[in-house]
């Protein structure tokens, strides 16, 4: 009991000492500032891609109506800006104002009609017939009324934008398909072509269904809401908090090295030194971890305490173990200080803070932020983080013990 009280008193005094350091106070203050700043900015998120659209002809009402819909209903990913004509759209792309320029044909309805009038194969005839229809003449009339797409590079962004535009135009195209289908089946009903077309027009004039047939989910089954997906500027926040915690661990190591150099802990027995030093690193991480946990809860990025709490606790241990291991391996304060930007850049760029790519996973897994960020939505299980923490802490303590003696 006496030992426990002694340990708690020591921890309290050490913590008090740490919190007097301006750097730690700045780091603590950064947590709510970061969350507040990112949240404020994310509510006025811009768009990833800007597309300039222009009608082929000023008299084309269909194109004007479509452009109006595109311009007045932007999405977080794609924003459309209206241009007067082909030249203006080209200029917008050339100047960098827009990523793509879209110019509709002089008569957009002709394009839709051509789309609907494509020759299609009898599907019962098999795959070869379908293949034949791909190279058939059905699509030739579409070529006379093509939408021109100006771009600097025909990359994945350009292709995705065209797919999105196709989706927005599809009601009109489905109307054209149905018109052609009805005319090609005159045996059904006793109607004129005009009456059949009127039926088909119900598709175009019907209410727009704003229904997404896809529910996006993380691997653990949690739904990705529309609001969450749209706030991409705020998405690195969890990663940035994790990097801040890693920075705190490295800062704690630097202060500890300075204290060791000045002989401040000479009174600690060699057997207890490794654990004591580990405790010196863990304490500021605990303080910042608490602040980060609270910040996550208030930020809107919080999932549930059942997931977040164990993940945060384990991550604290991972960061402390990693930093301590670094201390016992490198030993010199100048060397550790020089490694700080390298390690933090590796955490920023090789782990899913800004972008989630897996290319050098064995190297990525050495960084404490990687497993933490992957564990939140069960991409990687929690036990991997526990194993990492155990390995880093134990190795650090063993190597530290050898150095003490």
């Amino acid at each position: 009991m006496r030992h426990i009280r002694h340990a708690i008193t020591q921890a309290f005094l050490l913590n008090k000492r740490i919190l007097k350091q301006p750097v730690f106070l700045i780091l603590l203050a950064l947590v709510p500032m970061l969350v507040l700043g990112v949240n404020l900015i994310s509510f006025e998120t811009g768009s990833l891609v800007t597309v300039a659209v222009a009608p082929g002809s000023r008299d084309d009402s269909s194109a004007r109506a479509l452009i109006s819909t595109l311009v007045h209903h932007p999405s977080p990913a794609v924003r459309y800006i209206s241009c007067r004509d082909d030249e203006a759209a080209q200029k917008a792309v050339a100047s960098g104002e827009a990523r793509l320029g879209i110019v509709f044909p002089p008569d957009l309805d002709e394009l839709f009609a051509a789309y609907g009038a494509q020759e299609t194969a009898d599907l019962d005839a098999g795959a070869l017939a379908m293949l034949g229809s791909l190279f058939g003449s059905g699509s030739n009339s579409m070529k006379e009324h093509q939408i021109i797409c100006y771009t600097a590079t025909n990359d994945i962004v350009a292709k995705m934008t065209r797919e999105q535009l196709f989706g927005k135009m599809y009601r009109d195209m489905e109307t054209a398909v149905v018109k052609v289908w009805l005319r090609s089946h005159p045996e059904v009903g006793d109607y004129t072509d005009t009456q059949r077309d009127e039926f088909a027009e119900q598709i175009r004039s019907g209410d727009i269904e704003d229904f997404n047939f896809f529910e996006l989910q993380y691997l653990d089954g949690e739904t990705i809401t529309d609001e969450e997906a749209g706030r991409y500027i705020a998405s690195p926040m969890r990663g940035l908090l994790a990097v801040l915690l890693t920075l705190t661990a490295l800062a704690a190591v630097l202060y500890l090295c300075d204290d060791i150099r000045k002989g401040r802990f000479i009174w600690i027995s060699p057997q207890k030194k490794p654990l004591f030093y580990f405790g010196c690193i863990l304490l500021p991480i605990a303080d910042l971890g608490l602040a980060a946990y609270a910040a996550l809860y208030l930020s809107g990025n919080f999932t549930s305490w059942r997931k977040e709490l164990p993940a945060m606790l384990l991550f604290g241990l991972c960061a402390a173990g990693f930093a301590n291991l670094l201390r016992v391996i490198l030993r010199r304060m100048n060397l550790i200080a020089a490694c700080v930007p390298i390690i933090l850049c590796a955490c920023l760029f090789l782990t899913p803070v800004f972008i989630d790519l897996v290319i050098l996973e064995p190297v990525q897994m050495l960084l404490p932020t990687y497993l933490y960020l992957k564990s939140i939505h069960s991409v990687q299980p929690l036990w991997m983080m526990a194993a990492y923490a155990a390995a880093a802490v134990v190795l650090g303590l063993i190597l530290g013990r050898e150095q003490s003696f």
């Binding site: 009805l182 047939f213 969450e228 020089a338």
Partner: protein, 425 residues
């Protein structure tokens, strides 16, 4: 003057002792930044090149529950233009799909519930699940959501078409559900076949001398810019002082704060320039071996090396700015630890707000305004404009050179205050 030159020479000599260790650290830093550049650029590059092994694999669960889905899946897999970028793989169930996603075999999976097609054909709505291995919502999730929205619009319209057809049949006096269902199926498959030709609706025309950098060139410039900003952290030990005895001694010997700061600034610029002179050709050689095209500098190989080295003098004004910010932060810091941490935080914050990690066009309005006011934002814009060979970069250059002078002046003032204070060290 002689004292100033002597002090400058001694400072340069002192800091050049850390040059070898700086080079080692810079190499490690380059590997981190290069890793990100490679990951970002080659992922996109492989997709656009249509490399077989680099196609994104998406699993689909529930195909076997419906003959229509089977046919649609076959068409999608074999004939649709998306097959250049995406490979669809049929999976047994959700559990096996999740397992394949975790192992990296699949990027995502679409789970189609049983009876969905019948539900849709009956005019009701139903949802499919799109499983993503995302750690958090980000740009990739946003793009996938956008694409899923486009597909939903298409499905919605097809659903409407199907409903209209049913109404047409009923209005024509046909109420037999089997006949109506057959007609709806025929219409559905016709619509799917028509979709296979959708690429022919577009004609792509390339705009030469576009005002945009390719995404690869953008990230290359951003990463080199970030490297320059972070270089100063690694030599902080040579500049951060908690004891100003030397400074006071120099002042006594008529080498005032201004000349001291200028000498140290020159030594820092020399050090960073020496590191960049070594690494820029190495970076150029490494880039020429990457399977990525950096169109702003050259298409590939020797052209790229020559183009990048020819472009490299543009980094010198940026080095001058970075050194001025570094020297100011060194002067503010009371000790090495505070110096290192403060420098890192300031540089990363400046880099983020300047548009290193996201292009300025994708940023919200507030951040765009902040970026244009920041010296690092102006420096980054200068690098981007000069890569596009635009003459407008001169204005940016003048602005951030003025900032450089301001930071050096502030450093001098802080040094003077420290040297004249009665507090001692």
């Amino acid at each position: 003057m002689i004292r100033f030159l002597t002090y400058t020479r001694l400072r340069i000599k002192a800091v050049m002792k850390v040059y070898p260790s700086m080079c080692v650290m810079t190499l490690l830093l380059c590997l981190s930044l290069g890793g990100m550049l490679y990951m970002q650029s080659s992922f996109t590059e492989d997709l656009t090149a249509g490399d077989e092994d680099a196609r994104v694999s998406i699993g689909i669960v529930g195909i076997a529950t419906s003959g229509y889905l089977d046919t649609a899946f076959s068409m999608l897999k074999n004939f649709d233009s998306s097959s250049e970028e995406v490979r669809f793989v049929s999976c047994k169930d959700r559990k096996s799909a999740v397992k394949k996603i975790r192992s990296g075999e699949l990027y995502g999976a679409i789970i189609i519930p049983e009876g969905l097609v019948s539900t849709l054909l009956a005019g009701e709505t139903g949802q499919m699940t799109l499983l993503l291995p995302a750690s958090d919502s980000g740009i990739v999730v946003l793009l996938i959501k956008e694409l899923s929205g486009a597909v939903s619009s298409i499905l919605s319209s097809m659903n409407s078409g199907s409903n209209v057809l049913a109404e047409y049949y009923q209005a024509s006096g046909t109420s037999d559900p089997d006949i109506i269902a057959d007609a709806q199926t025929d219409l559905l498959l016709t619509s799917l076949q028509n979709m296979l030709h959708r690429n022919r609706m577009f004609r792509v025309k390339y705009v030469r001398n576009s005002g945009q950098l390719s995404i690869e060139s953008f990230y290359l410039i951003s990463m080199v810019f970030l490297l320059i900003l972070l270089l100063g952290i690694m030599c902080a030990a040579s500049y951060v002082r908690s004891d100003h005895t030397l400074g006071r001694l120099l002042r006594v010997h008529h080498l005032g704060s201004g000349l001291q700061v200028l000498a140290e600034y020159i030594s820092l610029v020399t050090l960073l320039t020496a590191v960049c002179v070594l690494f820029i050709p190495l970076i150029a050689v490494a880039l020429s071996r990457m399977p990525i095209s950096f169109s702003a500098f050259g298409i590939s190989g020797n052209m790229l090396i020559r183009g990048f080295i020819k472009y490299s003098p543009h980094f010198l004004p940026v080095i001058l700015l970075a050194c001025s910010i570094d020297i100011m932060l060194y002067e503010i810091s009371p000790n090495l630890i505070t110096g290192v941490l403060m420098q890192f935080l300031v540089m990363i914050a400046l880099a983020y707000a300047s548009g290193v990690f996201y292009t300025v066009q994708t940023m919200p309005k507030t951040l765009k305004k902040i970026s244009s006011c920041l010296p690092t934002g102006q420096a980054l814009k200068y690098l981007q404009l000069s890569a596009r060979h635009e003459n407008a970069y001169a204005g940016q250059l003048i602005r951030f050179i003025l900032w450089t002078a301001v930071f050096v002046a502030v450093t001098v003032l802080i040094r003077r205050r420290k040297l004249t204070s009665k507090g001692g060290a």
